[in-house]
Symmetry: C2
Subunit: 321 residues, 2 copies
Amino acid sequence: MQSLLNTVNQIFSNENFTHQPIHLYEPIDYTLRLGGKRIRPLLLLAANRMFGGSDDNVRHAAIGIEVFHNFTLLHDDLMDRSPLRRGQPTVYRKWDENTAILSGDTMFALAWQYFLAKPHPRLQEILQCFNQTAIEVCEGQQYDMDFETSDNTTIDQYMMMIRLKTAVLLAGALKIGALYPNAPDDDTNHLYQFGIHLGLAFQLQDDLLDSYGDTATFGKQTGQDIRDNKKTYLYLHALQLADPALRDELRTLFSTTPANTDAKVAQVLAIYQQLGIRQCVETAIQQQFTLARQQIDAVQVDPLKKAPLLHLMDTLLDRKK
Amino acid sequence: MQSLLNTVNQIFSNENFTHQPIHLYEPIDYTLRLGGKRIRPLLLLAANRMFGGSDDNVRHAAIGIEVFHNFTLLHDDLMDRSPLRRGQPTVYRKWDENTAILSGDTMFALAWQYFLAKPHPRLQEILQCFNQTAIEVCEGQQYDMDFETSDNTTIDQYMMMIRLKTAVLLAGALKIGALYPNAPDDDTNHLYQFGIHLGLAFQLQDDLLDSYGDTATFGKQTGQDIRDNKKTYLYLHALQLADPALRDELRTLFSTTPANTDAKVAQVLAIYQQLGIRQCVETAIQQQFTLARQQIDAVQVDPLKKAPLLHLMDTLLDRKK
């Protein structure tokens, strides 16, 4: 695991993202130097190693998938009007909207440049997997924006949205990592499904920690989703369990922004407690975790070779408690 | 030529661009149904036919290159705040900015989907050509925005900008069209260079017609670039030829937006006439035209097979007179 992290960090610190015209590439370099957990390249490299592939063979793909991920963050931050990313000003705030649009577009093309850098007998398949993922991530972001203004999003729709917006890219990174060393189709599919469940668990945990995380280790104020009237898994699940009167109360709470948001957070958390929401979400996360384990168990390689990926999963799902 | 046009029109009318989520794909379908001259797919198909390729083999690539082109228009219209495209509201006006950003991103991925639809022994090379073009188009748009706020853009810099922003995509379409039927490298390179000169001639003519086009056939008011203080080839060439006093006058004219823009247009045109700008630009276009002819002459196929492409060039450069 430490070896994987060192490799990924080295790959990115050795890479030069600045070119001419400087106004186009400076924001790209800025974005890629902000760091982050580099989860997608880690998954890609881990899957590649699992089937005996050398790091050097997937170095370009590992960069490509991270450049793509950061492109989506750059455009999402603009669409969501987020002022900060990893504690630093977002590109559209530090520069301007046009810079965010065009530098983002260029990052998408740059991701392709990395993926196209090396020949491979299964290149078309690898690129189709990457591109299918890219399309689905866009679709997920659209559903996310659609659901913001919708009053009747179901839990199934929410799960579909986070699958597209978050899970498929983790799944794609794993599958691509396994395609390079020519892993059998059954195994690449198991790894893909492993990534889906890992991604769903990760996102549900994100929702949970927003309400129940330890502020000190979580690194941000709890209850932000409630303050923002964000329809997370917790809220949608509460709506489903509540009786009509309580449902109305919840809907009203999630359609106003009072001066005292602390009181609102306390009210919502009281309702969640009454309905046992925390336990429900913890169960749902555990289910995804179990499904993820089943998929990785089914991969036909020496269990010892699965250890880094399992360790990575534990680290991811243990990150903020 | 008519056969080419019919084929391209049929390809697009048979294609379905609507999917779920509808808020994402409706603007894409709208953009692609607005029409336009479909120059890039025409060039791609013509180059493919020149080397005996069947239309069916490049159908997906022809759609892909047009989808990519329309993606760049969609984002450029947002960045340039253009209200209209082909006489219809632009996407960010008809919907909103976020729709324009995300639908555009999806179109870029959709273009890749078309390019990845078919296997080809030289797929990596074809995709690298496409992606290099995509990166350069982004760089061209950045230079265009940079030059808007710069006082000392040279003619060489301007030519580099229009090469990146306009010419490389025509060149790329031709090269890709020739790569599919496995044309020799010398010929694909000649076609690429032909596209570069064609694109430069096309853009210079666009600049010229803005000042000297026949309003009735050109379809828009002349002098718009002058009203917008746009630093076109005409303006930059005039700056180069003018004496210091006249240069100051021009710079002043291009840094103000008076109430009476007609008077300003007349003043600028008088300076252009004094300096013989129209003739200079016509000469520059003719030079590019000649260079384009040389490149296509050098392609090693039966001259009869070059006729559609030459006809296409004549149509393009004759379009608004």
